[in-house]
Symmetry: C2
Amino acid sequence: MTPELLARYEARARIIKALAHPTRLFIVDELAHSGPRCVCELTEMVGADMSTVSKHLAVLKSAGLLQDSKRGSQVYYQLRVGCITNFFACVESVLQANADEQQRMLAHIESPRVAARS
Amino acid sequence: MTPELLARYEARARIIKALAHPTRLFIVDELAHSGPRCVCELTEMVGADMSTVSKHLAVLKSAGLLQDSKRGSQVYYQLRVGCITNFFACVESVLQANADEQQRMLAHIESPRVAARS
DNA sequence: CGGCTGTTTGGTTAATATCCCAATTGTCGA
DNA sequence: TCGACAATTGGGATATTAACCAAACAGCCG
């Protein structure tokens, strides 16, 4: 793997890593569905310390996924990219596939002989 | 955030986290473009210890992204989902947006007055 | 059976992430 | 200007991750 290629994958990984946390996923999802939100609102929804939420937002922003804007004493965050929805759709399809697989495994354990043509 | 909702985002995060590593991204990309590969081939391409690569593959498999099949003494891994391409496309668009932003910032520093209409 | 290759697992260490608390900065209204 | 609220930053404890090496495992061939 050449250095340039490595750098490319590292850049991608930085962005994906920013999304790889339940709280940050929740935030992104919320912003995608309901538009801009201030830190205090998100803190309320998430139910963690405001400093924690603020740091999560900083991670998402520094990855280029969010942008912020001050309104008075509050800071509002909003999505900077629109394709996040597709992103989630793919993740959901993986979850679905995993669930299906799980089902098949269970069925196979319960009645191995008929499972193949059920 | 309700416990069920939290569980949902945790499940998503597990999958995304599995992708949040340069080597694993490379592997997924390779499998997406060239089909099934055995551990030894991937180890060769990645240029790391085989045990390291094997562990990366285990991570991807346990997330449900890959499936493996033995052929003789070798283990071949292949993608289990097709939408990964969209996934990457979105990440690329974020990278592109970040690069554009960077450009604008630079232009703004060099000549703040004309930058607005350049 | 014994050795060979391919693969996984265990162990150790270093780096990173995450959380909350405490302290600081910034903005608004009295 | 002071006090209150919003947000960020720094600090420290804990947990997770990732790398390599070494050792164990699993098929296959002689």
